[in-house]
Structure formats: C-alpha cells, structure tokens
C-alpha cells in the first residue's frame, strides 16, 4: 500500500483552475521531486496535501486512510511534516523553544516513542549544528541556519512523510550540501519525502522519481535521468528545446 495516494485532485479559485485532476502514489521510503515552472501549482498542491486548502474534487489517502477533509494539525499528528518556502521559524522564541513547540504538538503516542523531550531537543540542535545557540532567539540566526533548524526540527519530530518546499532556496552552496545530506539521511532511515525544487542537479542527486507539473497538470512522471533528458521538460522550463 502506498504511504500517500492522491486521486483526481482538483483545486480552483473562482474560475481559475489551479490543479487539474492530479493523481499519483508515493511508496514508503521514496523521495519524489516535484518540479515545474512558477505558477504551475506545486505549492498549491502542497497546501492541499497539508490541509490548508480544500480541493473541489478528488481524494488524499495517507496509509489508506482518507484525510481529504482533515485539518492541518490533524494531518501533522498523523505523520505529515512540512518545510515551507519561507522560513517556518518562530523568531521570538529561542532555538530550544522552537524545537520544543514542535515536539509538544505531537500526539501522545508520537511523543511516547520519542522518549525524553529534552534529549530530543538537544539531539535536534546537534543535528542542525546549532547547539551553541540553543538559548538565543531564533531571529538572530542566518537564513541558512534557520533552514537547517527548521529541517532538523521537522525530521526529528517522528513524522513519516515530509513535504519540502524549495529547501535550498536562498541558501549558500555549502548549506545546500548540508541540506542534501539531511535529506539523504532521511531517505536512509526509510522516511518518505516530496520535494519541490528548481535545482535539477539537486533533484537528480536525491530523488527516486520526478513529477513535472505545468499549468496545474502532471505532464511528466518518471526517473530523474529520464525526465531530465525529455524535450517536454526543456520546453516547459526554457520555452523551447535548447539544442534546436
């Protein structure tokens, strides 16, 4: 059984249809890249999957359970973790509090599995390499550090499926490398992720499959090596086949 099953999903605002009949399955342990030009509906799809937007038709199943009408916090407690395009860090809280607030929001079972929360907080900050800033307000971190903290926090909170929206946007090449390592580590531990990215080599390096969206529809679906070679992708991204 796939961990995530999306079937016939459509979403529109007024007359403008943003997602059109989207269907795909994600198997456990897969990392799937979601690519497409700006305005193709990638982030909207994430918003529908995480419950912030309600689809006009179609269903979303998590481990066979219909979650189409579940509220965002319920979906999070069922195991969907999300990293947003803009930094999802609470700037007025310390780094410790930023991790703690996420841990405290888990269901009782999830918290029980994690054990001592103080140790998890410590482990999360170590994972992000930010232990020395534990008591500082998160607003004092650089953009890259915020991204690392957000990702480590999401990965450490016992989720099974991660929706990562442009995790390398606006970070240095060194940080991109660290983020790539984090996602690879996630994959090794058997977790599942959907990653929105414009960085095609990055997608090729970390993903098992790629889904290409254009004007709200899935236009390509396959292995990264196959998709990257396709003429359709070149046309979608560059407007024409660059070899011609």
């Amino acid at each position: 059984m796939p961990i995530l099953s999306v079937s016939g999903l459509s979403f529109s605002i007024g007359d403008h249809q943003i997602l059109k009949n989207i269907s795909f399955d994600v198997d456990e342990g897969e990392v799937i890249g979601l690519i497409g030009p700006n305005g193709s509906g990638k982030t909207t799809l994430f918003n529908v999957l995480s419950g912030f937007l309600k689809p006009i038709s179609g269903t979303v199943h998590l481990r066979g359970k219909d979650i189409t009408r579940a509220i965002p916090s319920k979906r999070a407690q069922m195991g969907i973790g999300r990293v947003f395009q803009n930094f999802g860090i609470f700037r007025e809280m310390t780094l410790e509090e930023n991790v703690l607030v996420a841990l405290e929001s888990l269901s009782k079972d999830q918290r029980g599995e994690l054990g001592d929360l103080k140790e998890v907080v410590k482990g999360t900050l170590e994972m992000a390499g930010l232990t020395q800033f534990a008591k500082q307000k998160a607003g004092s971190l650089s953009g890259g550090q915020m991204r690392l903290l957000e990702m480590s926090r999401t990965f450490k909170t016992g989720k099974d499926l991660f929706l990562l929206d442009e995790p390398t946007a606006g970070v240095s090449p060194k940080m991109t490398h660290q983020i790539s390592d984090l996602i690879t580590g996630l994959k090794k531990s058997g977790k599942t992720a959907l990653v929105i990215e414009h960085d095609l080599p990055f997608i090729g390096k970390i993903c098992d499959k790629v889904i290409v969206l254009d004007v709200g529809e899935i236009v390509l679906h396959g292995k990264p090596s196959e998709v990257q070679k396709s003429k359709e992708l070149q046309e979608i991204y560059f407007g024409a086949d660059p070899t011609t």
Binding site: P72, S73, R82, F84, F90, L100, V101, S105
Partner: protein, 273 residues
Amino acid sequence: MILPTVLGFNLVFGKGKILHFGQEAFAIVAAYSVWVAVVRYQIPFGIGLGLGLGLVVLVALLLAWLSFRLEADGFGVMSIALHLVFLAVVLNWQSVTRGSLGIPKIPRWELFQSLEAYTLLCILVVIVWVVFILWLDRGKFGRNLSALAEHPWHAQSLGINRKRIHTIAFIIAALGALTSNVLLPPYIHILTPNDYGFPAMILFVMIVVSGGPGRVWGVIAATFILMFLKEGIRFVALPPDMIGPVRLMLFGIILFVAVWWRRDSIFPQERKI
C-alpha cells in the same frame, strides 16, 4: 482589581495577536449576570456565579467562532459592535438592569465585610490569577499561542490546533473579566454601566501596548502605573470639569511615548540600497 481582565485580554490581543476589542463585552455579561441575579432576584451567590460563568463562556465561544470566520479587521470591528450591543442592552433593559442608574447595594460576603478583609481577599485572588497566567504563558499553551501569532500556517503544520488554542485563549480572557467583575462591584457597593463604556476598552489596549504586548510582567507594571495615574489625578487640585480632559491628554501622551519607544517593532524601518 482590573488586573485579571487585563491579563486575560493580553493573552488574546497581546500574545495571540488577535484583533479583539470585545473584552468589555465579557465584563458587562459577567458583572450584570452575576449581580442582577444576586441583588435583583435574590438568587444565591453560587448560582449567580455559575450563571455568569456559563454566559461569559458562551460569549467567549461566540467571539472565538467569529474570529475564525472573519478577517482580522472585520473581527476587530465585530468585537467592538458586540461590546456596544451588550452596553445598549444594559442601558435600555431598565426593568432588569435599572439602566444608567446601575445596581446599588451590592453586598460583600459575610467573612469579608470590612474594607481591609475584602481588600486582602481581592489581593489573594489577583495573586492566584497572576500565577495562573504566568504558568500558562511559560508553558505549552503560551508557546502554542506565540507560534500561532507569528506563523499560523507553520504552527498548524507542526500539529498545533489553532481553533482549540484560540478558543481556550478567549475563554481565559472571559474568565479574567468574570474574576474582575465579581470582585469590583462589592468593593465599591455599586454596579454602573459608566464603567463599561468604550474608554475602558481603550484603557486596556493602552495598558497592553505600553506594557509590551504579550509580556505578563510588563502588563502588570503598566496596569499599576496607568491606574495610579488615572485615579491619582482625582487628587490634583483641578476644576472638576478639567479632570476628564487632562486624563485623556495624559493617556494620549503615554500612548504616544509607548508607540514611539516601540517604533522599530511597530513601524520597522525600510531597508534601502
């Protein structure tokens, strides 16, 4: 004695960043339901308190529901409207509330008849309330409320249930108003609608803004300072018709200074290249 209601309001408006201007709606419902029942209809205090508790929780649920349905600015206006509707009811339902005459002869409990004993009781209740608010503020609830205030979507995607947390915040604000308005009328032996007008709401906003929105100790300090100024001005040798305008000018200056002092957070400077 206004501290419980101000700290409750601070939780919603200051920490939760919800544009709620209906704190006085809670206060009116709390004060009138309890004291009309007890004084006008001779209902035992315990039952009157239960009635007040039930009604303020209902108003809290109504305001919470409206806050989920409306945009922030629309909710702000609606919460003011709700306050003014309750005030209009109190002023016009004369057979029950005695309108602008208010309800006199509000009794104190037998054990606390003397002013000293009653003051001591009030201080104890307020201390318990402050400890309760500090406990909430520094715990999981406070963190959840702050997270929702800063990034509602991010907080919800971590598993924080916005409706539950905000509803609890409104209920606590309502309980704060109930606490203040159960304590104050027996202290002065009268319940009058003049104490529940819009200027009282402005005072609450001013206290929270000058104390630092969401900061418990800051708001406590601001409550003492502003109440001291508000009441202390009575003792300044001014003609009676000057006291009101002077008080308003003083509060205006304090609000201006508070906003000026916090200008970097309220009006962050635009970065230019």
